[in-house]
Symmetry: C2
Subunit: 82 residues, 2 copies
């Protein structure tokens, strides 16, 4: 299921559901406990790859949505790089 929602709430909810403490999640994700604390506090000046590490542990996928999105492969077939 796909929904638009702030990261803060998503992380906290999934962490709780996983029965993890902030420190526990941080260790599993390979980040400092401060990152989890800050994210759940609502801080968004967190590096994208750091957030990815956390969401990976929690089994949360990041998707991008736009009207043009489905045109990428079809019109730009040569861009197999990147």
């Amino acid at each position: 299921m796909t929904r638009t929602m702030n990261i803060s709430k998503i992380i906290k909810f999934h962490r709780k559901k996983s029965g993890l403490t902030q420190k526990g999640l941080a260790d599993l994700a390979g980040v400092g406990k401060t990152v989890i604390f800050n994210l759940e506090k609502g801080k968004t000046s967190v590096q994208y790859d750091t957030i990815q590490k956390v969401l990976n542990v929690l089994n949360v996928k990041i998707n991008f949505e736009s009207p043009l999105m489905n045109l990428i492969r079809e019109t730009d077939e040569k861009n197999t790089n990147l």
Copy 2:
């Protein structure tokens, strides 16, 4: 439409479709040109809010997907904060 894809390609594609240069997009997003260059180059150690600024200009939404996602509002109704 929703798809899982790397930010790099998404940004470059949408920027081109918008007829913007890297500098042009950077200015509209209020970030440095280096950010656009790095993002399109594939760098992921970019701050989340910085990416948001860029994607906002390009009309790209970030969604989060997980099996638990639809349970958030229902089971955690009091969390209207955050």
